[in-house]
């Protein structure tokens, strides 16, 4: 069963393979290989959408990517409802479901169409004028209403279940566009043996050969030649042929973004297939062969469904075998529309009349049309289209005025000429030049190693196009290192054009009846509902630059980016300004050429691949113990280990108390670790840290502070000296990469004379902190070759030996204030050693504790965390760490910064302890501190809380804070104003537990 407008014998689709689909809940039948547009047209459906602003009924303007009107929603399931899909691009599959957009309650009867009647309110610049008063109404009334009324499609609310692939690719010659020019260029380049990538946005290669029935190359019909050439290219190892692939962005150094639509055309794409694939291609040379886009004629009601580009009608006929009407009118200003009329006529469609704006054109196509008996009217214009949901007539008038004649039609084919697609050339930062003779912008000055060929270069005629493209492809390949294959004959030789169609010039701007002084709706930009009158109005209101006209009218600002409208808009503005077109300028072309999904940009970077998730060696054990994890940078760290029935506070209270009473195990593996090796290691350490290092004995450790050159604390950590020429440096978890970079920077560029090297060993060693009075008893049974007595291994020392039979760097150090050790073992052994230590710990009643308890325990001792208690404006003195700055040193990074006047001034914020007057109140970290709570707002803030916890060990809350002149305020009462009342606090020292530090050896 064939659809009413499918012409048997026409087109290239196999009639046998039908596909059923639905549009707005109505079922239709199409053929595999159809686009949604051709399938609907085959069923006589022209009305597919409503326009953005006026809600005017719209049909198909084009048969390609430039389509401004036929935007639909494709629904696969709840999560896959793609809005704003061009029906002219969407390939049909069996079961496809499409819905129209921007209409309510139905496409044929749309309430929003009152906007059309009220159009004087919505003229150019209405956004800037209509909604100016009252000011407050913009946010609460106008904007929400406009947004609701103006939306196009509807976004799905569920996460996108599809996946998207991405890859980088390199080639010598990248050919963009797979029409006659692109294929010829690719053939020439491929023959030289270099890597060639050829991409085209269509499902099938051929470009305009899809509709140009008159083309003949190498003795074959043009389209058949294209298919044979593509087959030949595909068979070559050095060539990659990409169909359904749009080059959307042209970036620096011939870096081009392509999106390949992998499965949008399939009925039920398997899960293994990506929906789209992003290609980021680096090419030595790029050949741009993007063709040209036909322009419409600008006349009243030129947007009625059934009014379309002549080349589109020809494509529907010659490729899809679909007639766009039964009684078709033609309105043209150039020759190419004649070919459409001739093809349709030959297929049995009545051509009501050809209306040609030109006075006396001559040529073979005109002769042929006349010979076929088609009525031809020269020097006349279509001044208006009749009908509403579908065009029903065209009103014809002599172009300089006179009697009108209305001709009934069910479709109007129009052609104002062809606009070279210079988008990608322009994106490459090339400068276009206006050709006064042909009145079009063509590539002028090149900014990159690329070349434009064929229609996008303003080259007319198939013969000239093939010549130019083949030569350009060969030249590009040769420049990129390909073998010389010129003079080749036979299969690899230059294609020979036996017959081709020539393109003639057309016209720019509004046609008769839509000129100055008229108020008809003659559309320039269909998608954004911009008329010729709107453009002129913008000029009247003072817009002089085309960039201003564009923004005032929104001409060219829709999803189609003005592919059909820009030149008309520019010509009308130039006309109104009385300036030549180049002086008014062309708006900038920006990526993307056509809309690109977020999915394709994101590619693999979703879910688990959104960002690396780093886990330590003991992660599995912690998870099995029910640990709750927190994110620390990319790391997952055990936060706390709740037992049954415990919330976070109960778990942390238990963990903290047990560590001080018995002991606890903590995974400190994420701390940054850097091995500093070389005869000048100590010298280097002297320069990078504030502390003295030369005299640190082998086997001893020191707490080091690293500053930036400005004198502020950058990082801190414990450093162990393993040998005279070897230090084991630890950094903060978050600081690890930047500290390494900072150290490398100084080593390579300021102190390159030092014989020392840095190696990141963060991930070489798993680190198990064992802290608490029983820590030595827990570790000792497993350790071999290390005397762990206080005399042999005092606090702040490091030993190398074995634990559980594997190598260890055993540090005696403490971030809790209790006797403590940090057991470093090679990472793959980390979990097993942890389990062994855990078993020992169990004998004493030790706990596993997480980062929350670690924070509380260190705060109880007033140990700072860089990045929490410091913020990049805190000096060692501010933090009470002056003791760690080598007073006799003459150089270290930050030494000069520390003497800056502001850094030694009185009244700087200093780190102090805070105790709330009510011990049960836990301050909020970040809360501001004031001296006088009764002062008027805005109050003078003298500091803020940096760390604050409930301390079960102290039986009260504790806090650290940066307070102006803090150390001179000991015992003072300060205030923390909060939304629900002011909290009174007392300034104290920073140590809340074991002030004398006796526990370290306890």
């Amino acid at each position: 069963m064939s659809a009413a407008f499918r012409i048997s014998g026409a087109g290239r689709l196999s009639q046998a393979k039908t596909a059923s689909f639905s549009f707005d809940d109505k079922s239709y039948t199409g053929i595999e290989g159809d686009t949604l547009a051709s399938a609907l047209l085959a069923n006589g459906v022209h009305l597919v959408g409503r326009s953005f602003k006026y809600h005017r009924p719209r049909g198909f303007l084009s048969a390609g990517a430039e389509e401004p009107n036929a935007l639909v929603q494709i629904v696969r399931d709840d999560a896959r409802k793609t809005p704003n899909v061009r029906a002219t691009v969407q390939e049909l599959y069996d079961g496809l479901t499409a819905n129209s957009q921007n209409r309510w309650p139905s496409l044929a009867f749309d309430v929003g169409a009152v906007n059309d009647l009220a159009s004087p309110l919505f003229s150019a610049g209405f956004y800037y004028k209509t909604f100016m008063w009252p000011k407050s109404a913009w946010k609460n009334l106008y904007e929400p209403k406009i947004r609701a009324a103006a939306g196009l499609g509807v976004s799905p609310e569920k996460p996108d279940p599809d996946h998207y692939a991405a890859r980088y690719a390199h080639c010598e010659v990248l050919v963009l566009g797979g029409g006659a020019a692109g294929i010829a260029a690719a053939l020439a380049a491929a023959e030289t043996g270099v890597r060639v990538i050829l991409a085209d946005e269509q499902a099938e290669f051929g470009g305009s050969l899809r509709f140009e029935s008159g083309a003949k190359i190498d003795g074959e019909n043009g389209f058949a030649w294209a298919q044979a050439a593509i087959a030949r290219l595909k068979a070559m190892d050095n060539v990659r042929v990409l169909s359904r692939t749009t080059a959307f962005g042209y970036y620096a150094q011939n870096f081009v973004g392509l999106v390949e639509r992998v499965s949008d055309h399939l009925k039920s794409p398997g899960r293994e297939l990506a929906r789209e694939r992003l290609w980021q291609v680096r090419a030595n040379r790029v050949v741009i062969a993007t063709g040209a886009i036909e322009r419409h004629m600008v006349f009243a009601n030129n947007d009625r469904p059934g009014v379309m580009l002549a080349s589109a009608a020809r494509t529907y006929l010659n490729h899809y075998g679909v007639a766009v009407g039964k009684n078709v009118g033609v309105y043209t200003a150039n020759d190419s529309a004649y070919a459409a009329a001739i093809d349709l006529k030959k297929a049995g469609v009545n051509i009501a009349a050809i209306v040609d704006l030109r006075d006396n054109p001559a040529g073979p196509v005109i002769d042929e049309a006349r010979a076929l008996g088609i009525e031809i009217n020269f020097g006349r214009a279509v001044v208006s289209a009749g009908g509403k949901l579908r065009v029903s007539s065209m009103t014809v008038q002599p172009k300089n005025g006179g009697g009108e004649r209305t001709i009934p039609v069910d479709a109007i084919l129009m052609s104002a000429g062809w606009t070279p697609s210079v988008h990608l050339f322009s994106q490459s930062r090339g400068k276009v030049a206006f050709n006064d003779e042909t009145r079009r912008f063509v590539p002028g000055t090149y900014a990159q190693d690329c070349v434009s060929v064929g229609a996008c270069n303003g080259t007319d005629g198939l013969d000239a196009t093939i010549d130019e493209a083949y030569a350009a492809g060969a030249k590009a390949a040769k420049e990129a290192g390909g073998k010389d294959s010129s003079g080749k004959t036979g299969k690899g030789a230059k294609p020979k054009v036996d017959a081709g169609e020539s393109w003639s010039r057309g016209m720019l701007g509004a046609g008769p009846g839509a000129g100055p002084g008229t108020t008809v709706k003659a559309f320039v930009d269909f998608q954004n509902d911009v008329t010729a009158k709107d453009i002129r109005q913008a000029v009247h209101e003072g817009m002089r630059s085309i960039e201003h006209v564009k923004r005032f009218t929104t001409n060219g600002m829709a999803t189609d980016q003005g592919k059909t409208s820009n030149m008309h808009g520019l010509a009308i503005a130039a006309d109104e300004l009385g300036k030549p077109i180049p002086q008014v300028g062309l708006t900038t072309f920006r990526a993307p050429y056509t809309p690109v999904t977020f999915g394709s940009i994101v590619g693999h970077a979703r879910g688990a691949l959104f960002d690396p998730t780093r886990r330590t060696a003991t992660h599995g054990w912690a998870a099995s113990q029910g640990a709750v994890f927190e994110d620390v940078g990319h790391w997952k760290r055990a936060w706390y280990f709740p037992k049954a029935g415990e919330d976070m506070h109960k778990a942390v209270d238990r963990e903290c108390v047990t560590v001080r009473k018995v002991g606890g195990l903590f995974d400190a593996s994420t701390l940054g670790k850097i091995e500093v090796v070389g005869p000048d290691a100590a010298k280097f350490m002297e320069l990078l840290y504030t502390n003295p290092w030369e005299k640190l004995e082998t086997g001893r450790c020191r707490y080091g502070i690293m500053l930036r050159e400005d004198g502020f604390i950058y990082d801190d950590g414990v450093v162990g000296r393993l040998a005279p020429d070897r230090f084991h440096v630890t950094t903060t978890t978050g600081g690890a990469p930047r500290v390494m970079n900072h150290m490398e920077d100084y080593l390579q560029t300021e102190f390159p004379h030092l014989n020392v090297w840095l190696t990141s060993i963060t991930e070489q060693w798993a680190v198990i902190a064992v802290q608490g009075p029983k820590s030595r008893e827990i570790i000792a049974p497993l350790v071999e070759g290390i005397d762990m007595s206080d005399e042999a291994m005092p606090h702040m020392s490091v030993r190398e030996g074995k634990i559980c039979g594997v190598p260890t760097r055993l540090f005696r150090m403490s971030f809790t204030g209790e006797r403590g050790f940090e057991v470093n073992v090679p990472a793959d052994y980390g979990e097993a050693v942890w389990e062994a230590l855990w078993a020992e710990g169990q004998k004493h009643g030790a706990v596993a504790y997480g980062t929350e308890s670690m924070h509380v325990l260190r705060a109880e001792k007033g140990y700072i965390i860089v990045g929490q208690d410091t913020d990049g404006t805190v000096t060692p003195n501010d933090a009470g760490l002056d003791w760690a700055v080598g007073k006799k040193k003459t150089d270290f990074v930050g030494i000069r910064g520390l003497t800056r006047s502001d850094l030694v001034a009185k009244g700087r914020k200093q780190l102090v302890g805070l105790k709330t007057k009510d011990p049960k109140v836990v301050l909020e970290e970040g809360a501001q501190i004031v001296a006088d709570p009764k002062q008027p707002i805005p109050m003078k803030m003298i500091g803020h809380v940096t760390s604050s916890y409930w301390s079960e060990n102290c039986g009260r809350s504790i806090a650290l804070a940066l307070v102006a002149g803090g150390r001179d305020r000991m015992g003072e009462t300060l205030y923390v104003p909060m939304p629900n009342g002011t909290v009174e606090v007392e300034v104290t020292g920073m140590v809340f537990v074991d002030e004398k530090g006796e526990h370290l050896n306890g």
Binding site: A165, R167, Y168, D611, P612, V677, E784, P826
Partner: protein
């Protein structure tokens, strides 16, 4: 004697080694991604003057050409920078011990556990790696034995071409899940 015997006994590891993602593999049309067994590795840093002595001690000539490597008897030296090499020993010998015998100026740091190795092999191997690595991996630009620190998606890797259609991807231990997963996803798409 008894004491020595006790020591020998205690020296044997009493805990097992648990390499990250051990045994994980993924097969897709045209490519197989799999975790490689543990290997001995060091980061070696040295000035030009020390290279001869170090090469001799290691039994493999340290390459001085950028983006290259040298392999001998299961030991590969990868040029990572003008004074930086990664030594990977898959034969069970310890390059750290070999370097310890050398007195010339150098820095050798053990990183056997810091890194993991992932094999990507098959006709679609290069395309798989190119899903996240922006370098040109054609045989002309990245020939057999080519080695380079580079990027794979959001992780740093070291890439070594071990055959025309095979790569060794080295990354840090905690990035291995990310790197393996990315390579797996890419592998599934690579044959297309």
């Amino acid at each position: 004697m008894a004491k020595a015997a006790a020591n020998t006994k205690a020296t044997a590891a009493s805990v097992e080694r648990r390499p990250a993602l051990a045994g994980r593999t993924l097969s897709a049309p045209g490519v197989k991604v799999e975790m490689l067994p543990p290997a001995e590795r060091i980061s070696l840093r040295a000035p030009q003057a020390s290279l001869a002595a170090l090469s001799k001690a290691l039994g493999v000539t340290l390459p001085v050409k950028p983006k290259s490597s040298a392999t001998k008897d299961g030991r590969t030296a990868l040029w990572l920078g003008p004074d930086e090499w990664m030594i990977i020993d898959e034969a069970g010998n310890d390059p750290l011990a070999d370097c310890a015998k050398v007195t010339v100026l150098h820095s050798a740091v053990g990183i056997s556990h810091r890194n993991v190795g992932i094999s990507v092999a098959g006709p679609a191997a290069a395309v798989t790696v190119n899903s996240g690595c922006p370098q040109d991996l054609s045989l002309d630009a990245f020939p057999m034995g080519a080695a380079s620190r580079t990027i794979l998606g959001k992780s740093e890797i070291v890439l070594l071409r071990t055959a025309a259609d095979a790569f060794r991807v080295e990354c840090w231990r905690s990035f291995s899940d990310y790197v393996f997963t990315l390579l797996s996803e890419a592998a599934s798409d690579a044959a297309n």
